[in-house]
């Protein structure tokens, strides 16, 4: 369709989807899914722990297989799609970027909270030096104004990022919120860089938000097969491609292959399908990182506290991505308070 830049779809099934299955992807699953995505013609395939390289920990959950193994499996399975690695400064280090490149990654996603872009400057610069295509990710984008998103995006681009994503980690953005952020970021960086959208479906707006972002001028978009991702899942790859085609975009991606990959290869490994239920809806409603869902549910079961109460309190405290340790604290506090009042 119109526009000088093509829309580039980065599939995040094997990275954001990691949250949904407690980081238990196997090399065999990665090989299968990555090769199908490559066949379908997506621009890039994101692979690794949900919290990026170095994320395997008590804090975020230990991975069944280290990222190096998953990267190696994916690299062997793809021939045209780029392999994307996510790295969060403070969790992963520059050494992880070197290793990811050695294992076949060529697209680096450097992610910070949406107000802290400057902690990624060194990592973005190094990734460029190492020959990566580099995108910055601004997480929890609902916690930053559109103007602020523009400023933070500029910091990342000045450091060398070639694109900057709105990461709606909490699935809390409405369609209008997305449009405003894309516009502000294009105003700030559109002369030399692209804008991307990463949506979660907690308010059932993932596909709509992704489409709106593209209509507003975003040319990078994340999506996951069958929506497999944190919380209520992500923008569903095969649905997005179908919608974009109906809107007249030439995605260059084979819809049938995506559908088959989603239904035959991704659905069987789900613990449960991405669902908007009272817990995941509350993630979006309260503005809490989607990656907190399974941890919050575990705390809820252990302490007999409603998951929603935990999430609402986390939202009230304005926790950011990465703060999973606060969950148990909040749950214990709520459990203690209810004990005291009985």
């Amino acid at each position: 369709m119109t526009g000088e830049r093509p829309i580039r779809l980065v599939d995040a099934t094997l990275r954001d989807g990691s949250h949904a299955i407690r980081h238990r992807f196997t090399p065999e699953q990665v090989t299968r899914i990555a090769s199908r995505l490559d066949e379908a013609g997506v621009y890039a395939v994101g692979v690794g722990h949900g919290d990026g390289v170095g994320g395997s920990s008590y804090q975020y959950g230990f991975a069944l297989h280290p990222d190096e193994e998953l990267h190696a499996a994916a690299a062997a399975a793809v021939s045209r799609a780029k392999l994307a690695v996510t790295m969060i400064p403070g969790i992963g280090t520059k050494e992880h970027l070197h290793r990811a490149r050695d294992f076949g990654c060529s697209l680096a996603r450097i992610a910070t909270h949406c107000t802290e872009a400057d902690i990624a400057e060194q990592h973005i610069a190094l990734a460029r030096e190492l020959g990566f295509e580099v995108h910055g990710d601004l997480m929890m984008s609902h916690m930053q104004t559109p103007e602020g998103m523009g400023e933070q995006a500029r910091i990342m681009v000045d450091a060398g990022a070639q694109g900057v994503y709105i990461m709606d980690s909490a699935g809390a953005l409405t369609v209008g919120d997305v449009r405003a952020r894309v516009a502000a970021m294009l105003a700030a960086i559109g002369d030399i860089a692209e804008v991307g959208m990463h949506a979660h479906n907690n308010l059932s707006l993932a596909v709509a938000n992704s489409v709106a972002a593209i209509e507003e001028g975003a040319t990078l978009v994340d999506a996951c097969l069958a929506g497999l991702g944190a919380g209520a899942g992500n923008c569903q790859t095969e649905v997005l491609v179908a919608v974009l085609e109906r809107l007249g975009y030439d995605t260059g991606i084979d819809l049938w292959t995506l559908q088959d990959a989603a239904d035959s290869d991704v659905r069987p490994l789900m613990v449960q399908p991405p669902t908007i239920d009272r817990d995941t809806l509350t993630l979006g409603y309260a503005g809490v990182p989607s990656s907190f869902l399974l941890h919050a549910r575990r705390a809820s079961d252990a302490l007999g506290v409603d998951t929603r109460d935990i999430l609402v309190e986390l939202g009230r405290r304005r926790v950011v991505g990465g703060q999973e340790d606060v969950i148990l604290d909040v749950a214990s506090g709520l459990a203690g308070a209810s004990e005291r009042s009985t």
Binding site: S57, P89, H113, T115, E116, I119, V319, V320, D325, S332
Partner: protein, 288 residues
């Protein structure tokens, strides 16, 4: 028995040290050196009657004889020259920068092993907050793995921290091993921009196959009590949680508010640890 101490670095950390030192009877502050004549820190020191110079450490050493110990609150790169200068003149140094030239020290854990070295490094604020917990548990049980997560207010993370995020996690993880006694360590740092700013929070996860609940809780309690004696705002944020072979401990640090705001516990724990090292050196001299 007093020792004469000086501060190089008139930024936030150096200025906070200024106020803390003035309350310690065994430490006599004899000068403050900076490089920015317009800095608030130098102005405050001057107003309080101390000898100050904006011409750097060497100028201060020439102005004031008989300095026993210098606190370096500058930067890793500036510290290299300071370390050489101080070593040449036989003056001890407590390094609050990430330069990591001297041995890594956490007071009350391993300071006694490094009392005679020309300089000691205080590693990172995260190390100061969590190594004591790991060390106390390592004295009771073998620890194959220890992990810490520091969460600090964005406002208390200045350019020094932001440009050195990797150095923070790598140095802190190493200290969990080398000073804390874990076989393998991991460190994570998260910045949170919430307003009002949050207190520094540190979660420590320690795994031991031989973990015994009561002994572990007692060890953690002792460690927290020890640290709180020189960092009054250091405390458990909630009851430690023991699950099978893992204990999770959450400590928060509220700063004293001497110069830095109270939410900047991450900076306060560094200045408090630095002061503690100097006090121990002063005690040594008193008994020598």
């Amino acid at each position: 028995m007093q020792i004469s101490v000086a501060i190089v670095g008139s930024g936030n950390i150096g200025t906070d040290l200024l106020y803390k030192i003035s309350r310690k009877p065994t430490l006599r502050l004899v000068g403050v050196a900076g490089i920015d004549p317009a800095s608030d820190g130098l102005a405050r020191a001057r107003d309080l009657g101390y000898v100050v110079t904006p011409d750097g450490l060497e100028a201060l050493l020439d102005l004031v004889p008989g300095i026993d110990l210098v606190f370096d609150a500058t930067s890793a790169s500036a510290h290299l020259a300071h370390a050489r200068l101080l070593r040449e003149r036989g003056i001890r140094c407590v390094d609050l920068t990430p330069a990591a030239l001297g041995p890594s020290v956490v007071p009350e854990v391993n300071l006694s092993e490094h009392l005679d070295t020309p300089e000691v490094s205080l590693i990172t604020c995260g190390a100061q907050a969590t190594v004591p917990i790991v060390a106390a548990l390592a004295a009771e049980f073998p620890i194959p793995y220890a992990e810490m997560v520091s969460t600090v207010a964005s406002r208390s993370a200045g350019p020094g921290t932001r440009q050195n995020i990797d150095e923070f996690t790598i140095a802190t993880a190493r200290s969990l091993e080398e000073v804390g006694g874990a076989e393998s360590g991991k460190a994570i740092i998260v910045l949170n921009p919430a307003d009002p700013p949050i207190l520094m929070r540190n979660t420590v996860y320690v795994r031991s196959p031989d973990l015994e609940r009561d002994r572990a809780l007692a060890a953690v309690g002792r460690a927290v009590e020890t640290v709180s004696r020189y960092v009054p705002g250091y405390r458990l944020a909630s009851e430690p949680l023991v699950e099978d072979d893992r204990i999770a401990v959450i400590v928060e640090v509220e700063g004293a508010g001497d110069y830095l705001p109270t939410y900047a516990g991450n900076l306060d724990i560094m200045t408090s640890a630095a002061i503690r090292v100097a006090e121990v050196q002063a005690e040594r001299l008193a008994t020598a």
